[in-house]
């Protein structure tokens, strides 16, 4: 039998040990951290105002001195746009995923724990949100309340909560009749207390992983919305870059490639981080 561990720091070490095993996840963490730093240091790194047109000649090729990655059809600096675009992607991605996680957790928790009519009603509502096509909703909302980043965040948040809600509900359903819950009842705990203090901490790792994956998805959706012109036109954004680059595939392929790579990298990074978190937080095989 294994000896008992003596300090709680050991669990942090264990966590990192398990996370480390997934090489892709470590890469994801590196890329993610890099993106984060780029976003924070944007004003320092970027030479130009990203949305200012004609900072130089149009269609400059990448690696032209002074304009690291060239310029686009309106003379905007591609590098600066990419750098500031990181901010948009990360802010929208993380905040939207967070909103989705928060709303989804509450709904899933109440639904799964209490069951009955509450569960039925909440699940029907959830299903409604799953069925509605994103871009249609986005179009409708945007046409009523305008195009800005906050609206985009809200739209994406609304679309990601059903996933978390279902997951949370499933976990609460499975855990609510476990013996440690019964033991808490014998201790004298109230139902709400059991839901929040006994079960929720057990579900958080799973919610964390799901939310991290939602960040990927949010980044992708955000880019898609901007590409379709439904995003905020006043901020630098990878999706918008793609939109403007559409007509110039042959003349200036870098205008599509570069934002495309950025989107892919960001999406992949968070995907891998989510995967790594899953391995680290939910070890399936117990070590002997």
């Amino acid at each position: 039998m294994m000896g008992p561990k003596n300090d709680s720091l050991a669990s942090l070490n264990d966590f990192w040990y398990r996370y480390k095993k997934n090489k892709a996840a470590v890469m994801g963490l590196v890329v993610g951290t890099a993106l984060f730093l780029i976003a924070i240091l944007a004003p320092v790194i970027a030479p130009f105002n990203p949305i200012r047109t004609l900072v130089g000649p149009v269609f400059l090729r990448p690696l032209t001195p002074g304009y690291y990655l060239g310029t686009d059809s309106l003379g905007r600096d591609v590098f600066s746009e990419l750098v500031y675009g990181t901010r948009t992607a990360l802010i929208v991605g993380i905040v939207a995923a967070a909103i989705g996680a928060a709303v989804g957790t509450v709904i899933g928790m109440v639904s799964g724990f209490f069951g009955g009519i509450v569960d039925d009603v909440l699940m029907r509502i959830t299903e409604m949100f799953v069925v509605i096509p994103i871009f249609f909703i986005a179009l409708v909302i945007v046409s009523f309340i305008g195009q800005n980043v906050n609206n985009v965040i809200m739209i994406i948040g609304l679309l990601s909560w059903p996933v978390v809600a279902r997951l949370t509900r499933a976990e609460f359903l499975s855990l609510r009749e476990r013996e440690f819950v019964q033991a808490a009842r014998v201790d004298g705990a109230s139902e709400v207390s059991i839901m929040l203090r006994e079960i929720l901490p057990n579900v958080l790792p799973i919610i964390t992983v799901a939310s991290t994956l939602q960040i990927s998805s949010a980044i992708l959706i955000e880019a898609g919305l901007s590409f379709l012109g439904l995003g905020d036109s006043n901020v630098a954004d990878w999706g918008i870059m793609l939109q403007y680059a559409q007509s110039f595939i042959y003349q200036a392929p870098w205008l599509i490639l570069l934002p495309g790579i950025a989107i892919t990298l960001a999406t992949l990074a968070f995907n891998e981080i989510g995967d790594g978190l899953n391995d680290a937080l939910n070890p399936k095989l117990k070590e002997r």
Partner: protein, 327 residues
Amino acid sequence: MPHLLEVKDLRKQYPLKGSFLSFRKGKKLVHAVDGVTFNLDEGETLGLVGESGCGKTTTAKIILRLIEPTSGSVYYKGKNIFKLKRSEMYDYRQEVKLIFQDTYASLNPRMTVGETLKRQFTLHAVRGKSAKEEVLKLLKTVGLTPEKTFYNRYPHELSGGQRQRVAVARAIGLKPKLVLADEPVSALDISIRGQILKLMKQLQHDFQLTYIFVTHHLGVVRSLCDRVAVMYLGRVAELATVDDLFEHPLHPYTKDIMLATPIPDPERSRSRQRMILSGEVPSPIDLPRGCRFSPRCPYVQNDCLEKEPELIELRTGHFVACYHPLE
């Protein structure tokens, strides 16, 4: 003197899945507990014995108000436990406790031992620092020393014996009156069992506890209980003092499980009369019309197939539900 606990004709039925879709008569029901009656006095240790499916754990959980019975009643200190006011329930939760069978599953994997044990103290108005002190004292009482180390351990960091001690600690922390123990030592190694049983005996003495031991292990019952109720398929088949039951068993099922229990001595074990029953314990869904033991009973007669025998007091303090008891 009134009994501490009175269980009267307790029944619990579960509908079989899918049966609520069919509206035909005769829905399939699982009769987990099918008419259990017994009393318990203060300071006693009662053994609730039976094999899987006999309903002993369900009975225990009903007494703990973790499960609602389909019918029947449970009286604690003369009050119906299903009709308690909020303040009375608060007291009930302090006085009646359960040591769960699965010590791993009954502990929240995300909470340390200290956090888990502190819960009931804070819920019963012992706050903050003094709650922690109470828990440390408690850990010492159950032999989990050094206390501070165990306070910070997680369930997966404990051995089976240590988890069992935590389960005992959780049950006796608030100095209850009645403790139900569901298989408290069955999952433990033989050499460790004694440690836990000795502890439980000591605690009974120190805190004047009343125990109900729910177990399938007759050996433990022989040495630790005052009285025993043998359960079969949701009902009590026989109820007597330990000596009466083991020396003069009246119900054929009691005799059967006694003979089936191995004795750790080749001479005593191999010289016993063999009565190996055929068949398995049937499922508590389609119960036979008469005595529920009749399909397996080697002494079955016609009247056994007609009507279920009631639990009657054949001798002083010795109850049996059988038309043709063994003696």
